[in-house]
Each structure stands twice: as C-alpha cells, then as structure tokens.
C-alpha cells in the first residue's frame, strides 16, 4: 500500500467510526467515553483529509484548489472502481 492508499484507508476508516459514533451520540449525547472517542478520531480524520487534499487532490468539492484548472473532475468517481 503506498502512502496515498494508506491515507485514503485512514480517512475511510475514521469516517466510518465517526459515522457510527454520531448515531450513538444522537441517543446518548452526554456519554463521556463516546465524546472523548469522537474528539480523538475527529482530529486524526481532519489531519488525514488535510494531508490527502494537499498531496493528491480534493475529496470534497469545497476543497478544490483552483490552479488554472478544475481538478474535481479528474479523479475516478467511486463507482468507477477505485474507492
């Protein structure tokens, strides 16, 4: 696995844990253990997204860096096989 794949795997894994934690926190909004876990994972994910976006391009269309071209349409879409 190269660095790009590792970073992407980190983003998808932390995103999933946060997605699951979000549902738990909706019905247990004061659970300290879950809140601490959220805070930790949120930081890891944010750093991974920032590094990925800087090195390999945008994951989110709000983060497109317009450098004379529209990079958003260059990468394969998830359904095209690479995700």
């Amino acid at each position: 696995m190269d660095n790009r794949e590792k970073l992407f795997a980190c983003i998808t894994a932390t995103s999933f844990v946060l997605d699951d934690l979000r549902l738990f926190l909706d019905t247990h909004p004061t659970d300290r253990e879950a809140l601490a876990h959220w805070e930790k994972l949120q930081k890891v994910r944010n750093e991974a997204v920032e590094e990925y976006t800087k090195c390999y391009g945008p994951i989110n269309s709000y983060d497109v860096d317009v450098n004379n071209k529209w990079a958003w349409i260059e990468e394969p879409w998830p359904w095209e096989g690479r995700c």
Binding site: L23, F24, D26, T27, W79, G81, C83
Partner: protein, 177 residues
C-alpha cells in the same frame, strides 16, 4: 437492484427518515432520523455502484441469458429505481405519519425488512466482492434498529403515564385537552 428502488430498499429508507424528521419535536429523535436518513443515501450509492459494476460490461447475449432484457429495453444499462420484480419506486413503500411512535415503530420494522432482504440476497450471491459490502449493509441495519429502539424509548420516557400510548405526543396532545 431491489435494494436501490424496491419496497425495503435504501431509497425508500432514506426518504422515510428524511421525510419524518420535520414533524419530530424531540431533538434527539430528529437528529437520529437526519443522520440515519443521510447514511441511507450513502448506502443507496453503494448499492447503485454494485449494480452498475455488475451490469456495465454486459453483452447483448448475457443480457438475454440473465433475464435482464426487459429492463435493458427501457433503461439500457442506466440505473433506475425499481424492485427486483420490476415494480417502479413508489413513495407508498413508506409512511411519514407525523406521530413519533407510529413513525419509529415503522422505522424499526423497516430496518428488519431490509435486514431480511439482505439475508435473502446473501443466500443467492457468492461473489465475494458483492457479499462483503452486502454483509456490511446488513450489519448497519442492525445498528439502525438498535438506535431507533433507543429513540422510541426516549419518546416513551417523556410520555405522561396516562398517555402510554393513547394519543400522538407531537400533535394530538395539544388538541385534545
């Protein structure tokens, strides 16, 4: 295909929860409907990607042999929401009733119906690249069932002992005094 546009599919699930959330007064329950509804949209993307990847390279001969020809005539190899039996997507697949107990009991049943559908699919499919994401989606139905169960408990905990359960806590409680 059925888990895209079928009666217990991800499109119906997302629209069920995202429609119900507006009339839900409890903040925790509105949040869980919003967040599970949004997750269902992502699951719809997963199901659509699976269908697309399974059908994108079909030859006319394979289309006939696999019984896909009727769908192909209408949609070529595009995605269109319908059930496995060919019934088009219909909002009558779900209800949005403006009563949190009615809605949450429906939502819990919906998660179980989707889980059963995934069980049925898993008995028919042996391709590992299809089974793995289907197993993942099946597990999410179980988590959602748990969370909707908690949401129902939250609503019931707030009910007046005399209203357990006689009238709609989000609407009729104000009207029927």
């Amino acid at each position: 295909m059925s888990q895209f546009g079928g009666p217990d599919g991800e499109l119906a699930a997302s629209q069920r929860y995202l429609s119900q959330r507006y009339s839900t007064k409890n903040k925790k329950v509105a949040a869980i409907l919003t967040d599970i509804g949004t997750e269902e949209l992502a699951h719809m993307e997963m199901v659509c990607a699976i269908v697309h990847q399974l059908t994108r390279d079909l030859t006319p001969q394979q289309i006939v042999e696999s019984g896909f020809e009727k769908y192909y005539v209408d949609h070529t190899l595009a995605l269109w929401p319908q059930s496995a039996g060919g019934i088009p997507f219909n909002s009558c697949f779900f209800q949005s009733k403006g009563d949190p107990i009615t809605d949450l009991v429906e939502d819990m049943a919906a998660e179980q119906k989707a889980r059963t559908t995934y069980d049925n699919i898993l008995r028919l499919v042996h391709d590992q690249d299809v089974c793995d994401p289907i197993k993942f989606l099946r597990k999410r139905e179980i988590i959602h069932f748990q969370r909707f169960g908690e949401a129902l408990r939250i609503i019931q905990d707030e009910l007046d002992r005399k209203n357990f359960y006689a009238i709609n806590p989000d609407f009729a409680a104000d009207q029927c005094k």
